[in-house]
């Protein structure tokens, strides 16, 4: 193509070549209906091919303004929906994801490179979104599309990434912000692997449960801290001593290990601790009762959703995410 490829052009070209959405149709999905200074909205000009071509698709990067586009997240959802429901010949979620990752991804990266954007950041975020463990393919392709559309509309990787991370936070409680370990290992950036994996882990919250109801305060443990202790006589600043009387003075330690995983370990309590898995409800003994102060139990890995039962009666649910979203 003779003209310079802009991120917005890459967005339109990708959808046309691989998604079968014409420029005019895509313009209908992503342009704003809010009137500009002349009283006409960009959306109302979709039928004007020359206008779409000149002022949107092939517009120089600096001339495109945010107010031309509707909310990126909304636009991305519309594009996803459109891709998947084209009168019977729609794309599956996997195909939509691959469109953003492979064919379209190359085009977008080329365009972003041409306007001197930080490609490494774009790739990192896209990779995280596309591989988020525990999410269905649909959810992942939707999130990748949000980033793709945001990058196309803003032509600015930093803003697009900030937007998508905020989007993830509101929609999924921020869980995708952590990089799955698998991504870290395969990361293309040499610097990434050497960073402390704990920086990527999310804070762990402990919720005291009484009779099936949340009761008492929510205690957060930060991954980079030394962890906290639970016990009737635990005195540290963040320690948790909101427990029943049969819990030992120093009962259990919770911390984030070097690999960025959360662990618990018995501290030689007299009444022991049991872990109930949040996945299938199976029980694991963290420390048997009457183990005696000398026998120190092995550390056990825990996840959000698990439940800790101390001394048979004091229960804590483990949660994760952004502390502010739980307040």
């Amino acid at each position: 193509m003779a003209t310079e490829l802009t991120p917005c052009g890459a967005l339109f070209e990708t959808m046309k070549r691989y998604g079968g959405i014409s420029h005019k149709d895509l313009a209908r999905l992503v342009l704003s209906g809010r009137p500009l200074a002349d009283g006409k909205s960009p959306l109302s000009r979709c039928d004007d091919r020359t206008w779409v071509s000149r002022f949107i698709v092939h517009a120089p990067v600096g001339s495109l303004q945010d107010r031309y586009f509707c909310d990126w997240g909304v636009a991305a959802l519309r594009v996803s929906a459109r891709l998947r429901s084209r009168d019977g010949k729609g794309l599956s979620a996997e195909e939509a994801l691959s469109l953003v990752m492979n064919q379209g991804g190359a085009l977008m990266e080329q365009a972003l490179r041409e306007c001197h954007q930080d490609l490494a950041l774009y790739r990192n975020v896209l990779e995280r979104l596309a591989r988020g463990a525990g999410y269905s393919v649909e959810e992942r392709s939707e999130l990748a599309m949000v980033l793709f559309v945001a990058a196309g509309c803003s032509a600015n990787v930093k803003r697009a990434c900030a937007y998508v991370l905020d989007y993830v936070k509101t929609v999924h409680g921020g869980r995708l912000e952590t990089v799955p370990a698998a991504v870290m290992d395969q990361g293309e950036q040499p610097g990434a692997a050497s960073a402390d994996p704990r920086e990527q882990a999310q804070a762990l919250g402990l919720l005291r449960m009484v009779g099936g109801l949340v009761s008492g305060g929510l205690h957060w443990v930060q991954p980079l801290s030394d962890g906290v202790e639970i016990g009737a006589l635990a005195l540290g600043p963040d320690d948790i001593n909101d427990v029943d009387p049969d819990v030992s003075g120093h009962h259990l330690r919770v911390w984030c290990n070097e690999a960025g995983r959360w662990c618990v370990q018995g501290l030689g309590s007299s009444n022991g601790t049991v872990l109930i898995s949040g996945e299938d409800g199976s029980e694991t003994v963290v420390e048997p009762a009457r183990a005696g102060a000398s026998a120190c139990a092995e550390p056990v890995e825990v996840h959000a959703g698990d439940e800790l039962v101390l001394a048979g009666s004091t229960r804590f649910m483990l949660i994760e995410g952004m502390p502010e979203s739980w307040e």
Binding site: V171, H172, L213, H303
Partner: protein
Amino acid sequence: MSGFVDKGGALASSGAVQGMRLVRVADFSAPLSLSDADRPSYVRRFVTLFVSQGQGHRGGTGRVEHARNAQGEHLALKLLSLPQRRDGETEDDHERRVRASRAAFEREYECHILLSGLKGFPRLYGRGTVDGVPCIVMEWVEGITLDRVRRQLAVDGCGRVSPLVAARLGRDLFDLVARMGYVEGGFVHRDISPRNVMVRTSRLSLEQQVDEGVFDLYLIDFGSSAESEPRSTSFTSENAVFRGATADFAPPEMLSDDIPGLAELRKSPAIDVYAAASVVYQLACGQAPYDLHAVTEDGAPVSPYRAKMAAPAPAAVMAHARADELLEALAREPEVAVAVQHAQGKLSAPMGVTEAAEALSFVDEQMGIVLGDCLARGQSDRPDAAAVRDALSSFSIHYADNVERSFCGRPLVPCVPGGFAAAALDVADSTLAHVRMACKGVAAAALAGVAVSAAVLANGAQASLDAAGFAWSGGVPGIAVVAAALFPALVGLSLRFGGSRTTAGFLRGTAGLAVTFAALWQVLSDMRFEAAAQQHLLYMALVAATAAGWCIIVADFTLNVALPQVVRRKALPSGDSGEADALPGATAPALEGEYDDLSEGA
């Protein structure tokens, strides 16, 4: 009944964690296939939930609770409400009812699977049991039901929403309805009502969405939905627990059990078209199409089926119809107010409130006609959802343009999809302008000819006037004859001033013309001419000049107002199903052609 908590825009998360109840979902199964690596962390997201106390709402088949998982995500947990045993009911009967409601819940889940993942339908995460009671885990939709949206966006005392906003909401609602048709085998919701449609507000607030002109709509509660072509036909009557649709919005075929071919009728997507049109009608007019609370003369309530079959839906009366409330309404719809201001700027003199209301209603009427087609009593007379969506989309895109056209008396861009009709009308528009100018030119030439020739012929004629204490005699000056001949036309045109493109202006002009004509006729008959032939000549000249003057006014009216109206009506999509079917097909090739054009334009 809405299955989702309507928070009126407030975030549900504002409630503290305190008091949330721990719920474990047993026998969890996901509606999608997961790889072994993904399964554990996917399942983990949905089996341990914290349910907010006291936020639940009863749905049709169950109760929906707001829940959060250990990751902090917001989810909806729908639990089946098992029927209570009634007094005097046998164990068997109760057992049967429990089985039936379990089957209905099951069917709701099956229907929901088909739509999950499509935009506008809550995503389904899986199902399981909580203490033995079946449950469904799905996306939490934070938003406002249309019921409440209507009250928040009302522009007048009757709860009407701006026609432009109603059309946009309608376009997005019909988009959802059309999308249900893409599902393999088709899908019918059967209970579309303002309580079952939500505007999601978690991304953009309602006000932002109004500004943006696009709404994030969600269709919820699939308790009475059905696949158009059920894969298994083994439904027994025991399984088919059917929940009644909301009578105000349901089509007649959902309101009576004794119609021939009922089973087929109830699987038609036309049901949703009718209901969705009723919802849009209520948004635009402040009330549902039929008043089902009315009673007959002898005080008996009217059956909803009879009411809906007895007469076509009354024409939509929208927010701009009443001139005395127009300014109040415009104050609450800035976008229309700006369009009106623009249009006023194009006129030589600003239009009065009555005419402005008329001109706006003229534009709004297009939507009324589309809705009227959807509210047809026979299913085959209703257009399909995609055609309605395209019509409403075109209506809202061209709204500002059409307001200007209506104010200037030019024919409106019809809300038919595709650019051809609009382009054809634009051609017709300029042709019309030429025809109008030609007609007016001929009429003006005739008027001048009559005036001048009468003046020449009657110049210097001896005459006398003696009426009402005023006496005059002498030669009639030619210039006075010219003035008298032109007078009716001038009075008519000046009285019409600014209203050359409205019916009211036409009537004013005509009246002025007629009154002046009568007055001059009276004056002429009071005069005594020496030669009677000259008086007859002047009578004839007066008639001819008045007629020519009226021709100018008539030409403006016919070609500015009456003819465009006819043209516009013809261009509207009719309820004729053949035409409606042709519409989506007609747009598709046009889009394909786009490819080459734009590449060349690059």
